[in-house]
């Protein structure tokens, strides 16, 4: 990387809008305790943002704090703090970043203080670590904790029983507790109203992600996709601001498509599209741009990714449905990517390889993230077998800078791209 001349990062209106939304939310969190607003901490996958808004909760997402700290080069110090406090090297680095941050006074990624939560809502249990994480947070804040059991989609489909089980918990446990903690009475019409906004934003998001089926793809569906999913998977889904963000973003991408342009990268327009890839697994946040650069410098664009489905999967038609609010909340929780069985994930990725005309599959594996990494090698082999397209396997970490070995990752990616090129040339001959 060129250290003498920092890059002027290219930003489009949608990016500026998102940045403003994120900053506003951190500001709002920082004043919540003193202004008497109630705060709920909750996780991204299958979150119940619309429901929480019905009780005027300010929403805090520990995973987002961790990844934002990663992007701002703050997580390494926090992780070491958590390790000094007794957390093992093998523990999820999101957890350690969060715990380290709490130990150091809970100053958030933007420098604003984060509030003490009034309630913890764990709406997804596919990741066992989430439970342990909130146990630790609960111990610190001694606050109310709601545990919403979400059955795993072992057979690859959502049954009526599963949905009923989640709805029952919403009615009998989640909603009454949220009412009690917030002092606000639940209003189903308010929920429907938010869901209408969600559905509009979701339609636009799906269009945006599917625009990558074009050649050249106007978006990068992993590195760019991480930004695109920001509002919808966090505190903003159901708000007018989020809906507006996706409308603006869709307009920008429509324009790129009409102009025959590729994605926007931090260094400007993408060059010639040489390789189309599907990516499985999480990004690395500590060296996000450096990692991305290894792709776009070689003309590799990601046309589909599983990570952009981690909050919820919309491509199969799911939308938040104001006519069946609680049932659709249940379906949302049940349908998020990491709640899918391995065969379902494999099928989904194989379909992406075909639908998006990908040349290959890259798996970025993070050892400390079980909900993603377990079974990834098996997935790699099976997808290679079914599609006949080669895969690459690289290993980094979410937010621990010690586990990003740039030379190693670059070496592997370059080898992989050269292999794709060689194979392509060979087949053409």
């Amino acid at each position: 990387m060129n250290k003498t001349a920092p890059l002027d990062v290219i930003k489009e209106p949608s990016m500026l809008k998102q940045k403003e939304m994120i900053d506003t939310n951190f500001k709002s969190l920082s004043t919540a305790n003193e202004e008497g607003r109630k705060v709920c901490s909750t996780f991204v996958p299958g979150n119940l943002n619309e429901l929480l808004m019905c009780f005027d909760f300010t929403r805090n997402f520990p995973e987002i704090n961790a990844l934002q700290n990663g992007m701002r080069k703050k997580s390494g110090r926090l992780i070491m703090e958590a390790e000094r406090n007794g957390q093992s090297e093998d523990v999820c680095t999101y957890v350690k970043s969060d715990l380290g941050m709490m130990l150091q006074g809970n100053i958030g990624p933007t420098g604003d203080k984060l509030p003490d939560p009034d309630v913890l809502l764990l709406s997804y249990t596919g990741c066992f670590t989430f439970m342990k994480w909130f146990e630790l947070v609960r111990e610190k804040y001694d606050c109310e904790t709601i545990m919403l059991h979400v059955p795993y989609q072992a057979d690859g489909k959502i049954t009526k029983n599963m949905r009923d089980y989640v709805v029952k918990q919403l009615k009998e446990d989640v909603i009454p507790t949220l009412e009690r903690v917030s002092g606000v009475k639940f209003d189903m019409d308010r929920l429907r109203q938010y869901m209408r906004q969600s559905a509009k934003a979701e339609d636009d998001l799906v269009w945006i992600l599917q625009s990558a089926k074009n050649r050249p793809s106007p978006i990068d569906a992993f590195f760019g996709g991480v930004y695109y999913i920001g509002p919808i998977f966090t505190a903003f889904r159901g708000t007018e601001a989020a809906t507006e963000y996706y409308r603006v973003l869709r307009g920008e991408i429509q324009q790129r498509l009409a102009n025959g342009q590729g994605p926007v990268t931090p260094e400007g327009d993408f060059g010639k599209e040489r390789f189309r890839l599907v990516v499985e697994g999480t990004p690395n946040y500590t060296n996000f741009r450096e990692f991305w650069k290894m792709f776009y410098d070689e003309g590799a664009v990601v046309v589909a990714s599983s990570y952009t489905k981690v909050g919820g999967v919309y491509d199969f038609g799911f939308r938040h449905d104001p006519d069946h609010p609680l049932e659709s909340l249940a379906d949302y929780c049940l349908g998020c990517y990491t709640n899918l069985s391995l065969p379902a994930r494999i099928k989904m990725l194989c379909n992406y390889m075909d639908d998006y005309q990908a040349d290959g599959l890259v798996i970025n594996s993070v050892k400390s993230c079980n909900s993603f990494s377990a079974g990834q090698l098996l997935m790699l082999r099976e997808i290679e077998k079914r599609t006949g397209k080669p895969g690459a396997f690289i290993e980094t970490d979410l937010v621990d800078p010690r586990y990003f070995s740039a030379a190693n990752v670059k070496n592997r990616l370059e080898s992989y791209f050269q292999m794709l090129q060689q194979k392509g040339a060979h087949q053409a001959a």
Partner: protein, 445 residues
């Protein structure tokens, strides 16, 4: 004459291969990678071109038949004499550099004594040098740094003792000088050195002196053949440091895959254990890479691990394998972590385990890790080709063969004695193909 050159910049050694248009290997060169990849690449290339030059000598001398059936012995002697000349040249540079570095104020009143000691050390080193390059001499390594370094230390200690001079001073001067010397590329032309070497060789083969003119003429003619660097491809860990443009650089995965295919055309699976990475590569019948896996995030169980163990045991790297092969008992070593291995090694020694048994266990541990990377890449298919520096280690090969037999049954296992050059061979083949591709539109295909 057209030369297609592949250079493989490894973390430990840098290798080069020169081939002709017909894909015949003309020469191979190797040097230690130092801390300077540019120099290492240049030196390895020069060494390979030199080796190619000797190939030409052989061809032309073969034709004149002046050596009365003793061509092989004569050429072997010539190579040794040439190496000696090269060594003496670098030794002279080392002496000059050490002497210059010995004038610093830090040596105070001892400066004069240090100069005298250096003069004596280099006198002795020069005197004993021919022995190092005699037929059958057992050198620890072929690299100047290793040979000169180990002898300087031994002779230096002797001389310092005799002169009542602190050995630290002698050592200090060497440490300050060796990197500069190692990173200087010889300016003297090949021709003069070779002619001096030829004089030495004729001195050794005194009975052939009548053939002197008949030999010198074709050698001179071969020296005059221009070895043109038609196309150069670089690969290996340090490839990004090569002063080449992007199209002259290939990943080592592709080069090892192709190199293994060139050596053994029926290769399906390749294992390469290098200094800091282990690669499992699957290739198709044309040598095109289909899939690969590498060690991740740390170099546990790679060649460097053996280097570390050798240091811990105060052995040369090449001594490890033969010692491990003497093992009579299985010792199970669990850790391939380079750092833990040292601790485990000391622990085992303190428990009274034999060194050879522990070493055999360590070799097996490395291979177990390689087996796991191989299975990640899709397993071992027939034929299997093992490449990289570790393929020269008998104990590693033994453990590998055994584990392959246990897990995959009887397969053909290829190990070429020149397997360390596999990456460079692949790169040279790519260089040759690049010209073919360039020429294609003109109707070559």
């Amino acid at each position: 004459m057209e030369c297609f050159i592949g250079i493989d910049l490894g973390s430990t050694t840098t290798k080069a291969v020169v081939m002709n248009r017909e894909l015949q290997v003309l020469g191979r060169g190797i040097t230690n990678s130092r801390s300077n990849y540019d120099v290492a690449a240049e030196v390895a290339k020069q060494e390979a071109l030199l080796n190619a030059r000797f190939h030409l000598f052989r061809q032309s001398l073969d034709r004149v038949a002046a050596l009365d059936g003793r061509l092989d012995g004569f050429l072997d002697q010539l190579v040794r004499d040439f190496r000696l000349e090269q060594f003496l040249e670098q030794l002279a540079d080392l002496e000059q550099t050490c002497t210059a570095n010995a004038t610093s104020d830090r040596f105070g009143a001892e400066t004069k004594a240090l100069h005298e000691a250096l003069a004596e050390i280099f006198r002795r080193l020069n005197r004993e040098a021919p022995k190092q390059f005699a037929a059958g001499a057992n050198r620890k390594s072929d690299f100047f740094r290793d040979i000169a370094g180990s002898r300087y230390l031994a002779v230096g200690e002797e001389v310092a003792g005799e002169c009542k001079l602190s050995f630290d001073y002698v050592l200090n001067v060497y440490d300050r000088s060796i990197i500069d010397v190692e990173n200087r590329i010889s300016e003297e032309g090949l021709s003069d050195k070779l002619m001096r070497a030829l004089d030495r060789t004729f001195a050794a083969f005194a009975d052939l002196s009548a053939a002197s003119d008949a030999v010198r003429a074709p050698v001179k003619a071969a020296l005059d053949v221009a070895l043109e660097e038609t196309y150069v491809i670089g690969t290996g860990y340090g490839r990004a440091r090569l002063p080449f443009s992007k199209e002259h650089i290939r990943s080592e995965i592709l080069c090892h895959g192709l190199g293994a295919h060139v050596m053994y055309p029926d290769t399906a699976t390749v294992l390469d254990i290098g200094g800091q990475d282990t690669k499992a590569i699957q290739v198709d019948p044309a040598g095109i890479v289909e899939n690969f896996q590498m060690n991740d995030r740390c170099a546990a169980g790679c060649g460097r691990y053996l280097g570390y163990i050798a240091d811990e045991m105060n052995l040369g790297l090449h001594e490890l394998g033969p010692l491990a092969l003497k093992s009579t008992r299985n010792v199970r070593i669990n850790s391939t972590c380079t750092v833990f291995a040292g601790a485990e090694l000391r622990d085992r020694l303190s428990l009274g385990e034999a060194r050879e048994d522990i070493l055999a266990g360590l070799h097996r541990a490395i291979i177990l890790r390689a087996m796991s990377i191989l299975s990640r890449s899709g397993g071992i298919r027939d034929q299997f080709t093992f490449t990289g520096g570790v393929a020269n280690n008998g104990a590693a090969v033994k453990a590998l063969k055994q584990l392959i037999k246990e897990n995959y049954g009887d397969l053909t296992i290829n190990i070429d004695p020149d397997s360390i050059y596999t990456g460079a061979l692949g790169a040279a083949t790519f260089a040759r193909r690049a010209i073919e591709a360039d020429a294609a539109p003109a109707g070559e295909h």
